[in-house]
Symmetry: C2
């Protein structure tokens, strides 16, 4: 059932940077994206079309998309919160959009101040228009594996939402472990429940956070039951709000290392990817949490100091 090649959806430029206080210049974002593309990544979420003052880091969405290659080997994606955001996305010329809502009523309310039902109505409209306009679409469901406010989240809630999102035109639904609470047997159970409920396995993607260290084990488990699309962030970029150095997103390097060593093709060159992660760390001027990233960085330092000492 496991696939011999997988698709990695890179989220660092959006999900990674949006928590960063210091605004990264647009040209440097474009350079990071170019390096990520250069490593072989085929899908990159580059920005968000939320209202600029909500996330100043991503206020340059249109300008950034304008800097990206017109005829790329990679497909670029932008997060879209509502109809106004969709219009900005369409104007920018971006190829794909991602909508979001939560499987937890409390989390959805805190995040966007709407009920799940209200969010769904808006998203269904966005997905419909995006499809008419020829955009690719994906739809995030947050808190599928647990909610920081509600604790357990019934997988049946995620199934109902996923079914509506697909019916409204989403190319894929993304099962998000927003605060990194998920564990492998649960991942298996939730995916099985959705698949049994009619969500095609090849239209599910997974988005794991490494808050409690389980992200890669969860990704492995999802792969074993047939999932083929994995979200990840270079160098683990995407800080957790809790602690400096604490983990956020699953690190792309770790995922690529595991898959490639297992003979599962990702299309990504690990060395080039690790260099892109190094570039990201340089942009932000601090240590990033990805394990392979830190290993790679340590090796580079050792090589450099050896070169100096000779």
């Amino acid at each position: 059932m496991s696939l011999s090649s997988v698709r990695i959806y890179e989220v660092a430029p959006r999900d990674g940077l949006q928590n960063e206080a210091a605004v990264v210049p647009t040209a440097e974002k474009a350079e990071l994206i170019a390096r990520l593309m250069g490593s072989g990544l085929g899908d990159i979420e580059v920005t968000s079309f939320v209202r600029p003052r909500w996330i100043p880091q991503l206020a340059d969405a249109a300008e950034l998309v304008g800097l990206l290659p017109r005829n790329p080997t990679a497909r670029f994606w932008g997060l879209v919160p509502n109809r106004v955001g969709l219009e900005r996305a369409l104007e920018s010329g971006i190829g794909g959009i991602a909508t979001f809502l939560s499987a937890s009523e409390t989390h959805n309310k805190k995040n966007v101040n709407r009920t799940i039902r209200e969010s769904l109505a808006g998203i269904e409209e966005v997905l419909g228009v995006a499809r008419e306009e020829g955009l690719r679409t994906r739809a995030y469901i947050s808190c599928v594996f647990g909610c920081p406010y509600e604790g357990d989240v019934a997988p049946e809630a995620s199934l109902q939402i996923a079914a509506k999102l697909l019916a409204a035109g989403a190319d894929e639904v993304v099962l998000g472990d927003t605060t990194g609470m998920g564990t492998p047997l649960q991942v298996e159970r939730v995916i099985a429940l959705l698949a049994d409920g009619g969500v095609p396995i090849d239209r599910m993607a997974v988005h794991f956070h490494d808050t409690r260290g389980t992200a890669l084990a969860n990704a492995l488990t999802a792969w074993r039951v047939g999932i083929g699309t994995f979200d990840a962030s270079v160098a683990g970029l995407g800080g957790c709000p809790y602690a400096p150095g604490a983990a956020g997103n699953l690190a792309t390097e770790d995922l690529v290392y595991m898959f490639e060593q297992m003979g599962v093709r990702t299309g990504v060159d690990l060395d080039a990817l690790a260099d892109a992660g190094e570039y990201a760390a340089g942009l932000l001027g601090r240590e990033l949490p990805g394990r392979y990233h830190q290993y790679h960085r340590g090796n580079r330092r050792r090589t450099a100091s050896r070169a100096v000492s000779r």
Copy 2:
């Protein structure tokens, strides 16, 4: 085939501390061990009986063992490099010893300046005497999943070594991923090869390092094929020589979190364990790499600052 309860073998006081430059006072080591025991851990590797000047951090082995409870609920273990070390271990009154050698000829030579054959001869003698004296014994095999000097290591080499160690009286053999190169399908293959070759699954333990982020995914995989004993280090203590903050040992908290959430009993109280990890970070005065550890630490900081601001 997977077990509903597992045994965790805690290595922080030895494998964790041995890489630390600043020597931790003996009484503080004893306090850390008491806290680890208090969380429910049943097996703790507390020190090493290598020649004191090799590892000054662990030169207090006999004194430390003397400070530990006489009639503990936990079993204490010490690393033993040779016959002289065994004599020191026996004098100390410790209950279990661990020997070590590498499945990679080059790594063994660099580590102990002996061939594998020479190491095995010495270890066979140590295991024989230890058994006669009524000690429990385990035997580490390093570099089972890859060698930083040789690259791939044939699993047949590990099988031959494991068979000899068991024949010489080791209660269990520990498959070590010394530099964190292993990935899940390989873990499956190596364990299957050893089991097919006559090594009982319940006499194999696994010892994973998180250098490239794969430790917990590897542990999950080992559990799925029937392994029941997992080495881990609280807070991920056990720095990698490469980079500050880089990962060494699999963090005990992450392992306990995953297993307990999956309904697999560890006998460990996660909150008490996380507090022990917090104590370890305090002893060393720096950030430690464990994911759950950092999450827990961040939560404590948030709670503390909230209490102050009220």
